[in-house]
């Protein structure tokens, strides 16, 4: 079912186009965040 309200978004490391990687949690380290999970590039 996945994580729900009150839980924490699971950590996820993602690659930048530059080749570096970043943690998803960096988004909300110092401010609230809106995260969208989009379907595809179409």
């Amino acid at each position: 079912m996945g994580v729900g309200v009150g839980g924490t978004v699971p950590e996820f490391a993602y690659a930048l186009a530059s080749g570096e990687s970043r943690l998803l949690s960096a988004l909300w380290a110092d401010k609230p965040a809106v995260i969208l999970w989009l379907r595809h590039f179409g």
């Binding site: 996945g2 996820f12 110092d30 401010k31 609230p32 809106v34 969208l36 989009l38 595809h40």
Partner: protein
């Protein structure tokens, strides 16, 4: 979303758009729309699964319903028509459903939406309102 991004920034809310695809595919697509800074590539859809976002059926893709047709028309009118090439990229699952979350500073999920159809995702304006409401409570 691109037009609404400055409003999120003004209100101190970060934005992340997770997309299916590699970092290169993401850079190409998001760069074209000027939103590379907020795009996050998830070619294995790990975060989609972790958030419990489900897959739809081919039937719902073929017959999107009134809301789906309305959203497709709005996207087309805004200059973002459906792209078959974009839809069927190697790392893209056509049946993947969308989702959205508002996350408080520190990581707690305060609002979550799991799409029940391909077009079922809140508008940027609605997300801004939701994020503002939760931010003011903190």
């Amino acid at each position: 979303m691109r037009e609404t991004l400055p409003k999120f920034e003004e209100r101190g809310v970060a934005v992340g758009c997770v997309v299916q695809g590699t970092a290169e595919e993401m850079a190409r697509f998001c760069g074209r729309h000027g939103v590379t800074a907020v795009c996050i590539a998830d070619p294995k859809r790990e975060s989609y699964r972790a958030m419990g976002l489900e897959r739809t059926s081919w039937l719902k893709i073929a017959f999107p319903g009134a809301a789906g047709r309305k959203r497709r028309a709005a996207a087309k009118a805004a200059g973002f028509p459906i792209s078959l090439k974009g839809t069927f990229q190697k790392h893209s699952d056509v049946l993947q459903l969308p989702g959205a979350a508002v996350v408080a500073k520190g990581g707690r999920i305060v609002w979550l939406h799991r799409g029940e159809s391909p077009a079922d995702i809140p508008s940027p304006a609605a997300l801004l309102t939701i994020a503002e409401a939760y931010s003011s409570k903190q």
